[in-house]
């Protein structure tokens, strides 16, 4: 929204916009805007273009390649990338493991891993959830037993996004017995996915797509040198990382683009011989969504201002996650409804034949997006966080 940006910020936005127009490959943009599946090389190609420009890790310290941008500029950059239809940044390396290493890593770990993460030499994934440990992450059980210079890992991770594409995984493991505080005895390890004893099994989701996996660890040896921070202090690392995971969840740039897609798509559908976009009931739903987008855009900017000026109440990221994902889900739902009976026929996830028609992707996408209110701390967990941290309600 132009209304809210200063002249300097508008100039920065135009700079980013112009660069994106010239440097975002059209085939990648079309895959994103037409809801076709991205493969490992798509993500890495875009990451390397950004890395060559120096824009792939804006929030990192400048000594490791950060841009030195203000929070506002970072926000604008993220929104513009989403709005332009750039492939999303796979968060596990650049937004999670990188910041963790910068904060907690040894000098050797930083020297080795950070440049590789920056350039996209390695594709990372995240080993957190286990079959019995979802929202209650601290109950995790995967064992890491110290034997000399190694830990030996036995156990299972689940819902591991992109494990089938990944070169490395960072894991929370149990190195000590559960004491009174379950958060004690957890450690944070970096594990080479090529290690003997790792098996990746796909978990196909209801949209037919393969994003997530089960990862089994059977006597997997991990050098002690790959432990980040102290043994038993993994929960501190995990909490820090979860804070990072939740900074860009409003995803307004992407939602703004999809809102425009929705309006254009609805204008091409017919109802009673007229464009669906003229139907009063459909109009109301679209208008309500647009108002939600407006409200969240301003709320997002207000929160950034509060954070910049040290007036954070600790609940901002959770509120953005809740409202942002509700909007994302509503978008996919209205898009599917707009397709009418045509929504029933689904295109396969990587079908490129019907290049300009998104219809076949809409029902799949509606199904897929149910994940957004579940992942990255379910929206119920976010409410728990707000209740505890901001409102001080007793547990």
């Amino acid at each position: 929204m132009d209304l809210d940006y200063s002249p300097d910020e508008l100039a920065f936005r135009d700079l980013v916009r112009t660069w994106l127009r010239a440097n975002l490959p059209a085939d990648l943009r079309d895959k994103v805007t037409h809801y076709r599946s991205l493969v490992r090389d798509d993500y890495l190609r875009w990451q390397r273009i950004l890395a060559a420009k120096g824009w792939v890790a804006p929030a990192w310290p400048t000594e490791w390649g950060g841009t030195g941008w203000s929070i506002m500029q970072r926000h604008i950059f993220e929104e513009e990338c989403g709005y332009a239809g750039a492939p999303p940044i796979v968060p596990f390396g650049l937004l999670m493991c990188g910041p963790v290493l910068i904060k907690f890593g040894s000098a050797a770990q930083k020297q080795h891993f950070l440049p590789r993460i920056y350039r996209g030499d390695d594709f990372w994934c995240q080993g957190y959830s286990e079959p019995g440990s979802g929202s209650d992450l601290a109950s995790l059980r995967m064992a890491a037993v110290r034997k000399g210079d190694h830990y030996v890992l036995n156990g299972q991770k689940i819902w591991t996004t992109f494990a089938h594409m990944a070169d490395w995984i960072f894991c929370l493991v149990r190195t000590g017995a559960e004491s009174d505080r379950r958060q004690d005895g957890i450690s944070f390890l970096l594990v080479d996915m090529k290690s003997p004893g790792i098996t990746v099994r796909p978990l196909v989701l209801m949209d037919g797509g393969h994003e997530v996996n089960e990862v089994f660890f059977d006597e997997v040896k991990v050098p002690v040198a790959n432990r980040v921070h102290e043994e038993g202090k993994g929960w501190t690392v995990a909490k820090y990382l979860l804070g990072h995971e939740r900074t860009n969840t409003a995803r307004l740039g992407t939602s703004m683009r999809e809102f425009e897609t929705l309006k254009a798509y609805a204008a091409r559908q017919r109802k009673d011989g007229r464009p669906l976009s003229d139907d009063p009931r459909f109009c109301d739903q679209v208008a309500r969504l647009e108002i939600e987008l407006l409200a969240l855009s301003i709320t997002n900017l207000r929160f950034l201002e509060a954070i910049i000026s040290g007036r954070s109440n600790g609940a901002e990221a959770s509120i953005l996650k809740i409202k942002g994902t509700e909007i994302q889900q509503t978008l996919t739902e209205l898009m599917m409804q707009a397709a009418g009976p045509s929504m029933q026929a689904i295109a396969s996830a990587d079908d490129t034949a019907a290049a300009d028609d998104i219809t076949g992707a809409l029902a799949r996408r509606y199904c897929n997006y149910r994940k957004t209110t579940i992942y990255a701390g379910s929206n119920e967990i976010q409410r728990n966080i707000i209740a505890k941290q901001m409102l001080g309600l007793p547990s």
């Binding site: 209304l3 809210d4 109009c283 109301d284 208008a287 309500r288 647009e290 108002i291 407006l294 409200a295 969240l296 301003i298 709320t299 900017l301 207000r302 201002e305 000026s309 007036r311 609940a315 509120i319 809740i322 409202k323 119920e380 409410r383 728990n384 707000i386 209740a387 901001m390 409102l391 001080g392 309600l393 007793p394 547990s395």
Partner: protein, 378 residues
């Protein structure tokens, strides 16, 4: 910083809160609500002394020349304390004079508003017109160098305590024509004027007005004849923005009371705020409050600086949709979470509920603004 108050605004808001804490407690307010006039002359004077009545009036008429954003922190404080004084009624009507009036009208009326000796009200709505500002059938016929006015107005907030009314009437055209609407200054004591006042659910006063052959001079016409609708729309948008700011305060008050109740009320051997079912509902009320703060800012900044009339209308309507829905959500949930106590007239929360219920519908309800948001086009 765009969203936070500047220092001057913060100081003013603090002064207002101090005044209200001292003179506008729950019992003091109850006495004002049940008094004959429905407002407090001494509080009104205190508002004038603090400069609140001149916030939106230009310097040359004794005011401070601020826009809706400058006024918003005051309305927020009013929302917290459930102020029933005829403030919004007076400053809204004053804007009609300030933006549309002749030099003579501005010079005679505005300084008296600022000093607190003249209260105004805007008589716009007609029976059956709901929120349609062009649905004006009250007739003003040119006669003997002036006008003779006949018609019915209703739902005039604080009409009965106004010293002067600004009344919309048709000088040409048919009902609902956008052109042909004019504004007139009418003395409520003039011949042919009958006012019937009643109390509102939320402790304010509201009046119906009957005009039967009311004669006014040519000088009573505000601005030029027949072209008042854009002025009315912009001033009603201004009032809507201020109402959104008041909602921010009322919702803050409801949330604070509810959170406090959740922490102190014990059942099953624990504070009820330890129950997750209630915690999540409280969190959703907090989220509603954040969204309303954003939308009140959007409405205020749009009426202050949006030059594109269509965009201004859309933004104000977007804000009012969200505010109406949040007012309903928070008011209903705050009573529910208070349990039986929420129903009691003795607790402030039931009064906040009533004010929020009215705010949801004042200046256009959610459906009205959803339609205007969708259909306002260049």
């Amino acid at each position: 910083m765009k969203f936070a108050c500047d220092e001057e605004q913060s100081l003013l808001a603090d002064s207002v809160r101090r005044l209200l804490a001292h003179d506008y407690g729950f019992e003091a307010r109850r006495e004002i609500v049940t008094s004959t006039t429905g407002y407090s002359a001494s509080v009104w004077k205190a508002f004038a002394d603090l400069g609140l009545l001149g916030l939106g009036i230009v310097l040359e008429h004794g005011g401070f020349g601020g826009g809706a954003l400058a006024c918003a922190p005051v309305l927020e404080a009013f929302g917290e304390a459930l102020v029933v004084e005829p403030y919004l009624a007076t400053v809204t009507a004053a804007q009609l004079v300030a933006r549309g009036g002749t030099t003579a009208q501005r010079e005679t009326i505005l300084p008296r508003v600022v000093e607190g000796t003249l209260r105004l009200a805007f008589a716009q709505t007609e029976p059956g017109a709901r929120y349609d500002l062009a649905e004006v059938s009250t007739l003003a016929r040119a006669s003997g160098g002036g006008y003779v006015i006949d018609g019915q107005k209703c739902a005039i907030v604080h009409g009965s305590c106004a010293d002067l009314l600004v009344v919309s009437a048709r000088t040409s055209g048919q009902v609902r024509d956008p052109t042909g609407i004019s504004l007139f200054l009418i003395d409520p004591r003039a011949n042919g004027v009958t006012m019937r006042s009643s109390r509102t659910l939320d402790g304010l006063r509201i009046a119906d007005l009957s005009l039967a052959g009311v004669q006014v001079a040519a000088e009573a016409l505000v601005g030029s004849a027949g072209s008042a609708l854009p002025l009315i729309e912009s001033v009603v948008d201004y009032a809507t923005a201020l109402l959104c700011a008041e909602a921010v305060g009322a919702i803050a008050s409801a949330n604070a009371a509810t959170l406090d109740y959740l922490k102190t009320r014990r059942q099953f051997g624990a504070p009820i705020g330890s129950f997750q079912a209630l915690q999540h509902r409280m969190v959703d009320m907090v989220i509603s409050h954040e969204q309303v703060k954003s939308m009140a800012w959007l409405a205020c900044t749009s009426v202050d600086s949006e030059r594109d009339e269509v965009k201004r209308k859309r933004m104000v309507s977007a804000a009012k949709v969200k505010v109406a829905e949040a007012a309903r959500h928070v008011s209903q949930e705050s009573v529910q979470l208070h349990g039986g106590m929420g129903m009691s007239d003795e607790l402030k929360i039931s009064h906040t509920f009533r004010r929020l219920t009215m705010i949801a519908q004042l200046c256009g309800d959610a459906n009205h603004h959803l339609e205007r948001f969708t259909h306002s086009k260049r």
